[in-house]
Amino acid sequence: MELLALLSSGIGQTLGITFGALALGAVLAVPLAALRRSELPVASTAAKILIEGIRGIPPIVWLLLIYFALGETDLKLTTFQASVIGLGIVSTAYIAEIYRSGLEAIPSGQFEAADALGMPFGAKFFRVITPQAATVVIPPLATFAIGLLKDSALASVIGAQDITFRAFQEAQANLNGLTVFMWAALLYILLSIPIAALARYTGSRLTRKVAA
């Protein structure tokens, strides 16, 4: 039990890194997805290169890059902050693609109907497009969030004190690695269950209206 308490002390950082990066990515992905869908070939190509570039670099390398790059500057970043930024960058690229697929799933007739009614861009986007895109976006976003929860363990490499970091320390100190990491694995599973449940609940609420 003492062991579980020790590992649990890392839950805050694990969840903080996961949801911090997710939130950062979810926000930054909006302009990136918009750019990706731009009619200007320069803009959409630039966005595509950016997305492929970000995704082409392993998350662990991103974390180390951010950690060391910011170490060169006067910015004093904690390992937690560096982890959120590093994984946030990676999330931005993946979530932008999720948004894009959500937008592409909406029939052009929906855009045309809103246009034909003279709706201003904001109303068209937030009242017509987004609610429909959300039903398409939420399942892959939830899958991504669960993946991110697991990837957040990489933050332990740069010293963020998450579940994996605590487990590693404990295992090194007491040479009980198998037990420690089995408990750590269980904790990750327990944390991912509510995310999946929440996604299912939200998804079913949103699609219930639209389903025939």
Partner: protein, 280 residues
Amino acid sequence: MFHSTQGVQGPDPVAFPSGEADATAGGTPILELRDIRIEYKGHEVVHGVSLAVQRGEVIALIGPSGAGKSSLLRSINFLEQPSAGQILVNGQLVQGQSGSRGAIARNKSLAAHRRDVGMVFQQFNLFPHLTALENVVLAQVHSLNRSKEEAVARARQELAHVGLTGHEDKYPAKCSGGQQQRIAIARALAMDPQLMLFDEPTSSLDPELGVEVLNTMKRLASEGMTMLVVTHEMHFAEDVADRVVFMADGAIVEEGPAEQVMLRPSSERAKTFLSAVRGR
């Protein structure tokens, strides 16, 4: 009410409309298309069409598939971007014919024009995440800045107008195709349009459901709504339209009073088309 206009014109847009149109209809047309050209992927699908629509007139646009009827109709509210030509509403040139889609979306005068022109689509294009009532309310609030209460009251009125009292809280997926199309008509009417465009409004409906929609359209016509209808419903063209415009290969081949074009077409192209569709 009836008048003729030149169908296909030369490049000079000033040669429109004909004197006769003004003499018989009296006054500025509610809608005037001058030498509209539409290109699609680099090749022209509408070759300089001109047409004037008088207030209260019902015009049926008929013709074979690929004639450019829908493209022409969609260009009226710039869902399709004309590559050349002018569109005038009440004698006023509508701005916003050029530029990217984004530039058009931000163009205030174009938004105002679109609010004046109601559009009914073949696939209804109702907002699936909103109830019938919410579908009719949404643009009233966001495009016309009506209060929620006013918009709801008006939406109920328009849904009643199309015979859908009691269906206000249904989602489109729970409605029949005919009901969905009537909701779409109510949604357009709630904007107080000066004219209504119908793009094959019954083509995706079973015949018996199409009748509901056609009856609604007949009533609108009898109430004096100006309507431009792309249709394959020959009975509608014959019985309801004041004027029939027959298009083929991106140009107006023949136009005139419904009776004349439908029963005594003068062009070979129209004769062939009409006898083919009637022979079914």
